[in-house]
């Protein structure tokens, strides 16, 4: 097997590996180094992560299973320090790794202007997940301010994301208008207006003089004396190809690592691609050409002839929430004519640049739906003299066709590019549709169209609509899964309004396309039904994930963990003895104190579950629901009972809350904590519901998180008595149960409905609060029960139905 070493797990190298394993699954032994402590992810999607629309796990492009399946040796968090091309080894912290062929995909490094103060903590760039997380972290402090230096694509994405997270943001841009390389002044103006309407301050022609602060960023100073106080500075002024390794190894470099059309460097065993290369005088900064390079390099490595060529590119940009497009050459000049269209009411601007009866450039803002058609005309050099009068209105107006929004897509030729990132043209999508791909998800899986930055999703949908005709229902929102076109929100509404009380009723009345759903929709529908019809609907264990069906967490080796409740983190010597006895009796390999103030017995065999539960039940303990989308734990601190600072009985309130809420099912898990004073030893301010006791009563916060996202709770209200705190909590949980979509933690749901909406219902309207709490109590009359006891009584169902090991041997 040929040993391939890849330096950099980026957008380009990820794509090479895919092509390589597709073409020759077992031919290569790949070692993948990455400076970042993680594998390949979709860098283009960092902005949705920044703004909170996605989380990191959703943008991973290659997961552990993929690397394992292709036997890739992963060396993440281990930058390559040197290449010794004479001995054909790379050198990293762990030593030397030999290669037969080396692939360099090190991307670029953000350029940092060497201003005074550029190295203060709090000055960051925008390139990877760590930068993104640093920005998210800074934005979490209330009243935090950011200055973004650079009004190009990345700077504006950072600004928009930080603003969405509630920061005060100022953008400093050196040129006269934003994104001057992609937009003309008129479009730049509209972009600025849109950003300002969202509360972002934009300063153009800004000369930054210095960044100041004492051990940490405190302000940015401009040459004209302006002082901008801030807690964070994001520098997004450009990138430099990362070529130091190659240069040190003696490879030929120019502005970047020089490669030929086969992606070979000056050393025949070393290849390079991505933003770190220069080809025929070009360097690259968008993924489309990099993907093309990846395709060519995979061919080269499998000894097939192919050559990379530079194609003309359109930029369809996705500055979060703004629609803009530019292609070709739109500078003014001799012999050039402009056609301009403006619709001030809608904030639309379009400008076409013509020369010699041909379209050479286009800029659009606000309505970019015809962009690809114009781009096609530019690329093909079509003579447009016949359609000059109506050209600006787009393809819908050509040839007298009706102004149907779909006709524009219908008019595209088969080789018109739909997905710029992946270079997928309309013809390929139509082929895929004819081959049976009937949803956007199918198209993504078969062609990769719309699988990178996602801006062309709307076009892909239109191609589906045009090709399938009435068979395609244009999705209004993301459907629950492939079994339906309805969104979670629609399904919840319809379950209530049509009074659907069983899963078959949902499948039938809402037109499910599968006989009985799938692993994605069944758990969601099961939850919606039991939340809305607690008395009528019977929970369906076969629609639950294994942990909830078996009331224990499955481990990677198929054993389970058992975790009894310890109300409010309080236990007794008797309980501890019973746990110790159970651990001995069932040979529990690991006994662990969890992060939730209780004890976990890990590694229990499935057959032993009923017996261990029985023993724990006998000692008065019940399931801790450490596996459920339901109430998990209520952490407490010692409070007034022992602590010299405690203001209220935080332990007592915690126990009452846990006894109130336990056993309830919720859209995602729910964790609480009660701290006895603002020192907050129970970490209440990062829980789904967190109560901080103060002298005057209780501060109830909601929507905290400390998992994949880190969020501080927002104050729902302050109350004076325990009774009020308990009722507010029950009402809040019930509102969440009745409205959130399955698998949204409270903070995600709150981001959608807004805290004021919740306050209106839970705090401001006492009658509604009582009603919510009463509905919660009604449901709890069914669900506030220990699930272990009934299961322990059916121990026989936990073992095999038959054992043939003896019979088969006969």
């Amino acid at each position: 097997m040929q040993k391939i070493v890849v330096i950099g797990a980026g957008m380009a190298s990820g794509r090479v590996l895919e092509h390589l394993f597709d073409a020759a699954p077992d031919a290569f032994d790949v070692t993948l180094f990455n400076a970042e402590p993680r594998g390949n992810y979709n860098r283009l999607m960092l902005s949705p992560v920044l703004s909170g629309e996605k989380n990191y796990s959703e943008i991973i492009t290659h997961d552990d299973a993929w690397y394992a399946g292709n036997k890739v040796t992963c060396r993440f968090g281990e930058p390559v320090q040197r290449i010794d091309s004479a001995r054909k080894v790379v050198i990293s912290a762990q030593g030397e790794t030999p290669y037969d062929k080396l692939v360099i995909g090190t991307g670029s490094t953000p350029f940092i202007i060497p201003l005074p103060g550029h190295d203060l903590p709090g000055v960051i760039s925008y390139r990877d997940l760590d930068d993104t997380n640093a920005m998210i972290e800074s934005s979490a402090r209330s009243g935090a301010r950011a200055v973004v230096i650079g009004g190009g694509l990345l700077g504006l994405e950072a600004a928009a994301g930080l603003r969405m997270r509630g920061m005060e943001v100022t953008v400093l841009h050196i040129a006269g208008h934003l994104m001057e390389r992609q937009l003309d002044a008129a479009a730049g103006y509209l972009l600025r207006r849109d950003l300002e309407s969202r509360g972002i301050t934009v300063i153009t022609e800004a000369q930054t003089k210095a960044i100041e602060g004492n051990g940490k960023v405190a302000r940015v100073m401009l040459a004209d004396g302006t002082e901008l106080p801030c807690d964070l500075v994001v520098m997004a002024v450009g990138i430099r190809p990362s070529m130091q390794l190659a240069k040190d190894a003696g490879l030929a470099v120019g502005r970047a690592i020089t490669v030929d059309a086969q992606m070979q460097t000056s050393d025949p065993d070393i290849y390079a691609l991505g933003e770190c290369v220069e080809f025929a005088g070009n360097v690259f900064g968008l993924v489309a050409p990099l993907y093309e390079q990846a395709r060519v390099l995979a061919k080269t490595l499998t000894n097939q002839a192919d050559a990379f060529t530079v194609r003309e590119l359109a930029t369809k940009l996705k500055v979060t929430g703004c629609d803009l497009f530019s292609a070709g050459d739109f500078a003014e000049g001799e012999g050039r004519e402009d056609i301009v269209f403006r619709d001030p009411g809608r904030g639309v601007y379009k400008r076409l640049v013509l020369m010699d009866d041909r379209l050479i450039g286009a800029v659009m803002y606000g309505d970019t739906s015809d962009g690809n058609w114009f781009f096609g005309l530019i690329k093909d050099g079509t003579d447009v003299s016949d359609m000059r009068d109506t050209l600006i209105f787009g393809p819908a107006y050509q040839g007298g066709a009706a102004a149907d929004p779909l006709s524009a897509v219908a008019a595209l030729s088969a080789d018109a590019e739909i997905c710029g990132c992946n270079g997928v043209c309309k013809g390929r999508i139509v082929d895929a549709i004819e081959g049976g791909a009937h949803t956007v998800g199918d198209i993504r899986a078969t062609t990769k169209a719309s699988a990178s930055c996602g801006t062309c999703t709307g076009l892909v949908e239109q191609v589906l609509a045009v090709t399938l005709g009435d068979d395609f229902v244009m999705p209004t929102a993301q459907p629950v899964c492939g079994c339906t076109t309805l969104s979670h929100e629609d399904v919840r509404l319809l379950i209530k309004s049509k009074e659907l009380k069983s899963q078959p009723a949902v499948w039938q009345e809402l037109g499910w396309s599968t006989p009985n759903g799938c692993h994605v929709c069944r758990p969601a529908i099961n939850f919606y039904l039991l939340a809305d019809w607690p008395l009528e609907y019977q929970d369906d264990p076969q629609s639950r994930f294994v942990n909830e069906r078996n009331h224990a967490n499955i481990q990677k080796d198929g054993t389970y963990s058992v975790m009894p409740r310890m109300w409010g983190g309080i236990t007794t010597a008797d309980e501890l003895r019973a746990i110790a006895d159970a651990a001995d009796k069932y040979n529990v390999p690991t006994v662990k104190v969890t992060g939730g103030q209780r004890i976990d017995l890990l590694g229990v065999r499935k057959e032993d579950l009923p017996a261990i539960w029985y023993d724990l039940n006998a000692a008065g303990m019940v399931s801790g629901h450490a596996y459920s989308k339901g109430l998990r734990t209520v952490k407490t601190c010692v409070g007034t009972d022992h602590c010299r600072f405690g203001t209220q009985d935080s332990t007592g309130l915690g126990i009452k809350l846990e006894k109130l809420l336990w056993g309830s099912w919720t859209p995602h898990k729910v964790k609480l904590a009660v701290s006895g004073c603002p020192r907050n030893c129970a970490e209440a301010t990062c829980k789904d519901i967190g109560i901080v006791c103060v002298d005057s009563g209780y501060q109830v916060g909601v929507g905290g998180a400390a998992g994949m996202d880190l969020k501080e709770t927002e104050r729902l209200c302050d109350v004076q008595t325990e009774e009020e705190a308990l009722e507010i909590t029950a009402a809040f949980v019930q509102l969440y149960r009745e409205n959130a979509r399955y698998l949204d933690r409270p903070y995600k749901w709150l981001a959608k409905v807004g805290l004021p909406w919740v306050k209106e219902r839970v705090v401001d309207d006492p009658e509604n609060r009582h009603a919510l709490a009463a509905r919660f109590e009604l449901s709890q009359s069914i669900y506030r029960k220990d699930p272990w006891a009934p299961l322990a009584a059916r121990a026989e169902t936990f073992g095999p139905l038959a054992d043939l090991t003896l019979e088969a041997a006969e």
Partner: protein
């Protein structure tokens, strides 16, 4: 063929599964409808997940560990994942489940 009685059909919940221990490893019996039972290997080819603990839908099962989906009819992984699980002849007669153990033995020998 050598059919042997494994147990009552009703011992398996609708869209649920039960295990049979054999010398070639655990075989999972899936009940996909009131009358239909499928027998396949319990071990997911991905990372050994116990398929009998997965969610059953149509005539497929989703592995509980990382959501690979297998057809119970063919044993083939569905969608983008590649892999397959052994399938075994099984039938239901008068409310009893009958499994053909010759194939189990044969696969064992092979």
């Amino acid at each position: 063929m050598s059919w042997i009685d494994i147990g009552a059909l009703d011992a398996i919940p609708l869209r649920g599964a039960r295990l049979v221990r054999t010398r070639v490893g655990c075989v999972a019996l899936f009940r996909t409808s009131p009358t239909d039972v499928y027998a396949v290997s319990d071990t997911c080819p991905h990372k050994g997940g116990p398929l009998s603990e997965g969610i059953v839908h149509g005539t497929s099962v989703t592995c509980p560990l990382h959501n690979w989906v297998f057809s119970l009819e063919t044993g083939q992984a569905q969608g983008a994942d590649a892999g397959n699980i052994a399938t075994y002849p099984v039938r239901v007669e008068q409310g009893r489940i009958l499994l053909d153990i010759t194939t189990l033995a044969k696969r064992d020998a092979a």
